[in-house]
């Protein structure tokens, strides 16, 4: 066992993690980033269409309009103090990203080019769509991630790549670091830190068809849950309306932002029946349910569970300059040139609105409400500030990672000077090592892949876009069966170096725990709001459910709690588009 000591440890090397690392390292701190993969492989790389900031480069825009859209997009479940701050800071953050080197696409006069995205409108939702998504062709995630990674190298951030963090090290006095398994070397490392940031991303791999990378298994949230800390609003899982059928790979909302149509088997632009004013640019939850309804009504293309995304009317130049990656993917995977034929698309699991409850300085809340857990921070998709409430707007996630990653980095830099290293919890470390050893020494009596596939298939069927009581209860029973099966996995005889099976076993444990948190939250919430759609309770119920879910796990028992939504400016209203 090898022990490392750093002022600040950041788990995860996506946009949030690297933005934090950059700020803390620039302030002169000894920063280490621990990542399951080489940093540029992180899932942020997959973001395509753009990142949100009301720069007004194309037409007038204001952060207040962005604020209203984010509130309404969240179906009024977001916390408005955080949402207002986010929309204001997004503007400076976009310029910051430009200054450190992000190669944004440009307007004729040399400013950042912006395009339309679903849910972003002018004049407090009353005006036409506004171009607010700052773009770099259709590779915003790649350019943000690569730029931040380069700058982290410049400021000598320490990278521990291909290390999977297995446990948080937590005292009553606070968090003092993490335990991790080095994939290549095949051994346990202890990371001792003054402050620890989780930037571990989301959990959309819990579902069978997903835009997410193989690594998006919610590890950070899983560790927080196991440490007895709460998770917030876990039942809100975003399904992206347009995944490339049948793979589920992301086809950016930017395609509709550039003017793409959604078409059913009858050749009809069906969004006119669901969102007559905003059509294809309605928020994702609305478009997603519309597609699902079309498929259910038998209007899927050639009887298959998909519809068409049509950009054949766009010019070759627009497609090649603004959507080159989409074009490449459609050609490489589906054999379809989108200039000539429409792209088959269907909803696909995409994003975790919920996560680790934090305040606006990214401090983890031990009770989910006010009490700060010393030494532990979270930012990005794994955190719940809550900007996105019940439904996230496109382009708000990469910007959330940048805004709150930076906030976390700056805040940690400030605190690190006056925070000491807590002693390492020897008993916890010993128990952690025993757990890994047991996995490695048990003979295999069931397969990790089989349990994972059953989990993904059942979560999609029973806790997907449309939910109801009976199916959610069934899923809860089934999760118990899967958890029992997990006790029988074993990895005896596998090589110690690059043991993917061990990584997947650790991930699966988190996935099973998170699955139960999602289902319990969904079962309790007897209303439909944003991405959470209960067919047995189709209306939003502000009287009883205008509140955040908190879920705790102790000795495998789950407990639900709730906290009010912070409303500062916009009172809940009916959501029409």
């Amino acid at each position: 066992m090898i022990t490392h000591k750093h002022d600040i440890i950041i788990v995860g090397a996506g946009i949030a993690g690297l933005a934090a690392a950059f700020e803390a390292a620039q302030a002169g701190h000894d920063v280490a980033v621990i990542s399951k993969v080489f940093p540029t492989r992180s899932h942020s790389i997959a973001a395509q269409g753009g990142t949100a900031a009301a720069l007004g480069n194309m037409e007038p825009d204001s952060w207040e309009w962005h604020f209203y859209d984010t509130v309404k997009g969240s179906d009024f479940l977001g916390d408005q103090d955080a949402q207002a701050l986010f929309c204001q800071e997004a503007i400076d953050t976009a310029y910051f990203l430009e200054h450190i080197g992000v190669p944004f696409s440009r307007t004729e006069d040399g400013r950042i080019l912006q395009r339309c995205f679903g849910g972003h409108y002018s004049k407090f939702g009353q005006g036409p769509p506004v171009r607010r998504a700052c773009l770099a062709a259709d590779r915003i995630g790649q350019v943000m991630l690569h730029t931040l990674f380069g700058q982290c190298l410049r400021y000598k951030v320490n990278f521990y790549n291909e290390f999977i963090v297995t446990h948080l090290l937590i005292h009553d006095e606070g968090c003092c670091g993490v335990m991790a398994w080095e994939l290549v070397g095949g051994e346990t490392h202890i990371f001792h830190a003054r402050l620890t940031l989780l930037a571990t991303g989301g959990y959309a791999r819990l579902f069978k068809v997903s835009t997410n990378s193989a690594i998006n298994t919610g590890d950070g949230m899983g560790m927080v849950l196991r440490a007895g800390l709460p998770l917030e609003d876990m039942e809100f899982v975003q399904f992206h309306p347009t995944g490339l059928y049948p793979w589920g790979f992301l086809i950016s909302e930017g395609v509709r932002g550039e003017g793409g149509y959604l078409i059913n088997a009858d050749g009809e632009r069906f969004m006119k029946r669901y969102a007559p004013a905003k059509m294809e640019l309605a928020p994702r939850d609305v478009v997603c349910r519309a597609i699902q309804s079309e498929i259910k009504a038998g209007r899927g293309i050639e009887g298959k569970p998909c519809v068409h995304l049509d950009i054949t009317h766009l010019s070759e130049k627009t497609i090649k300059e603004r959507l080159p990656q989409i074009r490449e993917m459609a050609i490489k995977f589906a054999g379809i040139d989108p200039k000539k034929r429409p792209i088959p698309v269907a909803p696909t699991a995409h994003y975790s609105m919920g996560g680790i409850p934090v305040n606006v300085d990214c401090e983890v809340l031990a009770d989910g409400k006010k009490t700060v857990m010393p030494g532990l921070f979270a930012a990005g998709e794994c955190a719940c500030v809550s900007i996105h409430g019940a439904n996230r707007l496109g382009t708000n996630s990469t910007m959330e990672c940048a805004v709150f990653g930076r906030r976390a980095g700056k805040h940690m830099a400030k605190l690190a000077k006056r925070t000491s290293f807590l002693p390492l919890p020897e008993r916890q470390i010993k128990a952690g090592c025993e757990e890994i050893k047991a996995l490695l020494n048990h003979p295999a009596r069931t397969s990790v892949a089989e349990i994972r596939e059953s989990l993904q298939e059942s979560m999609t069927r029973n806790c997907g876009i449309l939910r109801e009581k009976r199916q959610l209860e069934q899923q809860l029973d089934f999760l118990r069966t899967l958890k029992r099966a997990y006790q029988k996995i074993g990895l005896k005889g596998l090589p110690s170096s690059y043991n993917l099976a061990l990584q997947e076993a650790i991930e699966l444990k988190h996935m099973l725990n998170l699955g139960e948190a999602i289902v319990r939250g969904a079962l309790a919430r007897t209303e439909s709001r944003g991405a959470h759609c209960r067919t047995d309770f189709p209306k939003r119920d502000d009287k009883n459910w205008l509140k955040h879910t908190l879920i705790f796990m102790k000795e495998r028992e789950y407990r639900l709690d709730y906290k009010p939504v912070i409303i500062t400016k916009f009172q809940p209203e009916e959501r029409r588009f």
């Binding site: 993969v37 080489f38 540029t40 492989r41 992180s42 899932h43 790389i45 997959a46 720069l55 976009a94 310029y95 430009e98 200054h99 450190i100 080197g101 190669p103 944004f104 696409s105 440009r106 307007t107 004729e108 006069d109 040399g110 400013r111 770099a136 590779r139 790649q142 350019v143 690569h146 730029t147 990674f149 380069g150 190298l153 410049r154 290549v184 990378s213 193989a214 690594i215 049948p246 793979w247 790979f249 992301l250 990656q325 993917m329 490489k332 995977f333 295999a444 397969s447 990790v448 892949a449 089989e450 596939e453 005889g493 596998l494 090589p495 170096s497 690059y498 043991n499 993917l500 099976a501």
Partner: protein
């Protein structure tokens, strides 16, 4: 359809030498090579090692040598391959295990060219202006995903450990070409002192290998031209 996979296995320190292992698999017509590897690992052999993350050609994790060509496993359709498929790790790098190679050399070379924008003047309140024409100069350069396929295919890289390789040189070009960068002289000085730029023999394997259709050789020529300009 049934496919026969011959996969090179090797665990340095345990195995004396690399060996081929055969797997026979029923594959769906929509599958790519990565789907087959995942199926082999979950159904037949959990000990098989390879890298994979995004599954759709953007993260650059799964570059490997498939029937003699360096490609991304996630983008290579089985329907386009013959019934016998031979898979090796990327050539030219130390093997960690099976299809997982040590890319440290590539990463160090990227770091050596300073892969970040350097500015000296204080930033304006808003963005630094860059015309669409200036921005266009970054096309074909900024899209690199660091998969290592080009450097792995480069005989000059195999022969000389001082050669930075096409991946790093393409990155060097990306920053020299950026109208906003204010360290161009230092960058050029580094490239002038470093033997790399003149070591490339225009074998062009890098161009053939790049899964993103980029042209590292053209970048090397651009850099050479920029050094020759006063």
């Amino acid at each position: 359809m049934e496919k026969r996979f011959f996969i090179q296995r090797f665990f340095p320190g345990k195995d004396k030498r690399p060996y081929w292992q055969e797997y026979v698999l029923h594959c769906d017509s929509t599958w790519v090579v990565l789907d087959a590897l995942e199926a082999i690992r979950s159904k037949q052999d959990p000990s098989l090692a390879y890298r994979r993350v995004c599954r759709h050609g953007i993260c650059g994790s799964c570059a490997m040598n498939i029937n003699g060509l360096n490609r991304l496993a996630c983008e290579t359709r089985l329907a386009d391959l013959p019934s016998k498929i031979r898979i090796k790790p990327l050539p030219g790098f130390p093997v960690i295990r099976d299809l997982v190679v040590d890319l440290t050399q590539v990463y160090q070379n990227i770091e050596a060219i300073k892969p970040y924008l350097i500015t000296k003047t204080p930033p304006p309140a808003k963005e630094r202006l860059q015309s669409p024409l200036e921005r266009k100069k970054l096309d074909g350069l900024y899209e690199c995903i660091f998969c290592g396929a080009c450097t792995s295919a480069c005989p000059t890289f195999w022969a000389s450990k001082h050669f930075l390789g096409p991946t790093a040189l393409l990155q060097a070009c990306r920053f020299v070409m950026d109208s906003r960068d204010e360290a161009k002289q230092e960058r050029k000085k580094f490239l002038k002192q470093h033997p790399s730029l003149w070591q490339c023999h225009a074998i062009l394997n890098c161009v053939e290998a790049c899964p993103k259709g980029l042209n590292p050789f053209e970048a090397i020529v651009l850099l050479r031209k920029s050094l020759l300009k006063p």
